[in-house]
């Protein structure tokens, strides 16, 4: 392991030393840690200012909770309103170990399912804490007035999600993310009204300001006027989501990007496990080369929908003309214990395998059926409509097909990214004072996230972790007063402005969109559902030449001093073009298959992911070394004290 020193202390960085995982039995770690953390007294809290970047579940919950405690908070979002953050699009639900169904759930079982679902590549202590606080999240959201689904007796309803054999998922029809976000957004706006949060909408963070090795502020661009603005504070929280849009086509919103995280990486925050990307099995298939995004059909549909392909290859008959005995319900056949409810990586890989083998359906042959006929016959159309009405409606809007009558056609698509900035148990990155929450960090989902766990993690980080851990930084660090007049702010702002002006000065011939599409196809082909060393090496070369193409031939019109959406987009794509190389490099370095990272060279005889626990039971955290320099790989060894490492089996 290389020995790179910490900027402040001069000591070599050893991630295992600085991960701050508490000692003691797993069930007591968080309670013990909370007691050990230093506190900021109520009257002192108002002396501190926290900058929260992002207003999704992690950002809105963190900003409102910290303001409730008495801190001064800035909340920055690139949207026109905090409510637009992409958490809003989460459909299926949020897990919690309530055991309301009396079906054997517990904190330990949720912990175990999440560790196993992540293919044993996440931190035990973090995941256990997540399972512990999951129950308080539901309580808080209910108190906020989130209209969760209810039984007739008035109690909360649950459904089942992939990778679990209990019903622990709370939901609000197919719009759970929307309702949870509107709850957090309400709390945030309450604090705005009380003057404890200052909201900065239509602002994009373009750089992090680090002073004496500590994160002290940000530079952002006002997306309406084009002005560069700076904010100073005592800590910065990145709640900026994932990087799925590196692939161009994904289920992410068009504006989702890696820029804030990438800027932090270039200022010294380590980027962990970028190759852990989640391909969601149930998305509406690609239809044309003009397509701008892919739409997810919630995993909850697999509760009632059965996945199948024709039993004979290249069978082009319409689905209703294929009799039962000529259909292959391949998930039920291969995984009898979990059936259609296997985890996402397993379901995606199996869909790809069937299509590669020639059993795919539809015009392109890159799709499988998700069929509700049996559930409709059993429960009636009305019951199915109640559960999934808005999803069926959305499917019909996009495809012009009625899923009550013909099976849905689905295919996997990039959906979520488990990798992200490295954080310690306190959610602090390798830059002191820079915290990373939600999808933007790497910590809880290992190599594959289970369904209904993203909402849980975003809210856990914001409502129940950061309010405790940030106090330790504020109480124990020397934080001399800093304003935006400090030279570091000016320097960082000039760098950010120069980058924007450089984009405008290329005056080339290619649109940003066309370059982004090419990057996306490269990543999808060589770093998607299946990867191999030759392909990844090719992808790295290709990405380098695309980056060159961008900086010599991109065409961005207009000025910097105005609302210029194409310029915003160009900046994000420029960062994806750098980040994409790190993603592929990480995938090339991890010589094993685990979860969503499937290297073709490493598989079991029956085609399942084959882990290499001896050599790769670690977090791969990358350190930036300057432009066109190879990044340094640091390893945090994952220690499993509680759970025995096994080959995942859902059979």
């Amino acid at each position: 392991m290389s020995q790179v020193s910490d900027a402040r202390t001069g000591q070599a960085i050893d991630l295992n030393r600085i991960s701050r995982i508490p000692s003691g039995p797993i069930a007591q770690k968080w309670d013990k840690h909370k007691f050990d953390l230093k506190l900021v007294s109520p009257t002192n809290k108002r002396k501190f200012t926290i900058i929260v970047v992002g207003s999704g579940l992690a950002g809105a919950s963190a900003a409102s909770s910290l303001a409730e405690l008495g801190y001064n908070v800035h909340c920055v979002t690139l949207h026109d309103s905090p409510r637009r953050a992409h958490s809003i699009a989460a459909q299926g639900g949020i897990n919690a170990a309530k055991n309301y169904q009396n079906d054997g759930d517990s904190v330990y079982r949720l912990f175990y399912d999440t560790i196993k679902g992540g293919d044993f590549r996440s931190r035990e202590a973090n995941v256990y804490r997540l399972a512990q606080v999951s129950t308080a999240i539901i309580d808080h959201c209910v108190a906020q007035g989130v209209p969760f689904a209810r039984e007739y007796g008035g109690t909360l309803a649950n459904r089942t999600f992939g990778g679990a054999q209990v019903s622990r998922t709370f939901y609000a029809r197919g719009q759970t993310g929307q309702q949870l976000l509107l709850g957090a957004y309400g709390s945030l706006m309450r604090q705005v009204q009380l003057g404890k949060v200052r909201l900065h909408v239509r602002r994009e963070m373009l750089d992090l300001v680090v002073i004496d090795g500590v994160a002290r502020g940000i530079v952002c661009r006002n997306l309406v006027t084009g002005d560069f603005e700076t904010l100073a504070g005592h800590a910065v929280l990145l709640c900026t989501g994932g990087y799925g849009n590196a692939y161009y086509l994904s289920t992410n919103a068009k504006g989702s990007n890696v820029t804030a995280a990438w800027r932090a990486y270039k200022r010294g925050a380590f980027f962990a496990n970028p190759c852990f990307t989640q391909i969601h099995p149930t998305c509406i298939p690609v239809t044309g080369d003009y397509q701008s995004k892919l739409t997810l059909m919630s995993e909850s549909l697999r509760n009632d929908g059965r996945v199948w392909v024709p039993a004979k290859p290249n069978d082009r008959r319409p689905p209703n003309e294929i009799p039962e005995n000529e259909r292959d319900y391949y998930l039920e056949r291969r995984y009898p214990a979990f059936g259609n409810m296997v985890p996402r990586d397993v379901a995606s890989r199996n869909a790809k395998e069937r299509c590669d083998a020639g059993y795919g359906i539809g015009e392109t042959g890159r799709a499988v059926y998700l069929d509700f006929a049996q559930a409709i016959a059993r429960d009636g159309e009305e019951v199915i409509r109640q559960k999934y009405g808005n999803l069926f409606h959305m499917y019909q809007k996009i495809t012009a097909e009625d899923p009550y009558k013909v099976p849905m056609r689905i295919y996997p698509a990039i959906h979520y990214t488990m990798g992200g900035l490295w954080v310690d148990y306190n959610l602090q990155s390798t830059i002191p004072g820079l915290y990373v929450l939600g999808e933007a960090n790497f910590s809880d989902h290992g190599a594959n996230r289970l369904g209904a766990s993203a909402l849980m993690q975003g809210l856990a980080d914001g409502y129940f972790v950061i309010p405790y851990t940030i106090g330790d930084h504020l109480a124990t660090s020397k934080l001399p007063p800093v304003t935006t007049d400090h030279p570091a702010f000016k320097e960082t702002m000039v760098e950010a402005r120069n980058r924007v002006e450089r984009i405008l000065s290329v005056h080339g011939k290619r649109t940003v969109d066309s370059i982004h599409r090419e990057l996306g196809i490269t990543l999808w082909d060589y770093c998607g559902m299946a990867r191999n060393a030759d392909g990844l090496k090719h992808a790295i070369e290709k990405i380098r030449s695309l980056r060159e193409e961008f900086w010599t031939n991109v065409k961005v019109l207009g000025r910097g001093q105005e609302l210029n959406q194409n310029l915003e987009y160009a900046g994000r794509v420029a960062d994806f073009l750098e980040f994409g190389e790190l993603l592929a490099t990480d995938a090339l370095t991890r010589n094993e298959s685990c979860g969503g990272h499937f290297r073709e060279e490493y598989q079991t005889p029956d085609g399942e992911a084959r882990r290499d626990d001896e050599n790769f039971c670690h977090v791969a955290a990358w350190q930036y070394n300057g432009p066109d320099q190879e990044p340094t790989l640091h390893k945090e060894q994952l220690k499993f004290e509680e759970v025995q490492l096994t080959q995942r089996s859902y059979k």
Partner: protein, 253 residues
């Protein structure tokens, strides 16, 4: 299945909030009927950039009809001709070859134009800030099942809470009233036990803010319901009015 369309687009172009805007006409050929409306605009923008003309600015994000960022007037109808549909979920199969499509931003005093089709909807945030929440701090909550909520009430609250905050209701209304938006949020909490402690104060403050933002009054022509992509019912406006009346008698000053 899929066909190709040749279209004439008349689009509102306005370089800045202060500038005088105007309609500009563009022709666009070979548009697939399988495309979404915004993908059609993407193609137009790519062609404009290649020709050296500045692309049309429009807000959009999730492109699955839930974030509420997108929304334009299409031939005089907010989000276009389909019921219960956002602009991003409208597909070109809804149009015919050689159609002329007129595209404008939301028109309302409370939603000033920032550029082209982009408007400032922060007035909605300020209405929510005035009281569109339950004032509960993290850490205070009892067990989720301590407060039973009848299924019918929870369902009705969710029907109201489904609002995506896009602003189509305001754009559809001849008075540019925000009553459907505001009534939906008030209804969500009026229907739930959690909303009861602040019930009277909430409706008074949110209605006052709605008026302060310069939205018009509701004269109940129900265009808003017809335009709403989340199919929010005007029953929420009548509930808001009842709540307001009720608050006059029950609110403590």
């Amino acid at each position: 299945m899929s066909g190709k369309l040749n279209l004439t687009l008349k689009i509102w172009r306005q370089p800045s909030p202060e500038a005088r805007g105007e309609f500009k006409t563009y022709t666009l050929n070979g548009i697939s009927t399988e495309m979404s409306f915004l993908e059609m605009l993407d193609i137009l923008n790519s062609q404009l950039i290649e020709r050296g003309e500045e692309p049309v600015a429009f807000d959009n994000d999730c492109r699955e009809g839930i974030c509420g960022a997108c929304g334009v007037m299409i031939n005089g109808q907010p989000h276009g001709p389909d019921r219960g549909t956002t602009t991003c979920q409208l597909h070109m199969r809804r149009f015919k070859n050689n159609d002329t499509i007129v595209i404008e931003p939301w028109r309302a005093r409370a939603f000033p134009v920032l550029r082209d089709l982009v408007v400032d909807r922060s007035a909605f945030d300020r209405i929510i800030a005035a009281g569109g929440y339950v004032s509960v701090n993290v850490g205070n909550a009892p067990d989720g099942n301590v407060i039973p909520v009848p299924k019918t009430k929870a369902d009705a609250a969710l029907d109201a809470a489904a609002c995506i905050g896009c602003g189509a209701c305001v754009a559809a209304c001849k008075n540019a009233s925000a009553s459907l938006f505001t009534g939906a949020r008030i209804s969500q909490f009026a229907l739930l036990p959690q909303g009861q402690p602040e019930r009277a104060k909430r409706v008074q403050q949110m209605v006052a803010q709605m008026d302060a933002e310069g939205f018009g009054a509701c004269t109940f022509t129900t265009e808003c319901e017809a335009a709403c992509p989340a199919e929010i019912s005007v029953a929420n406006i009548t509930r808001m009015n009842r709540e307001y009346l009720r608050a006059l008698f029950t609110a403590t000053p």
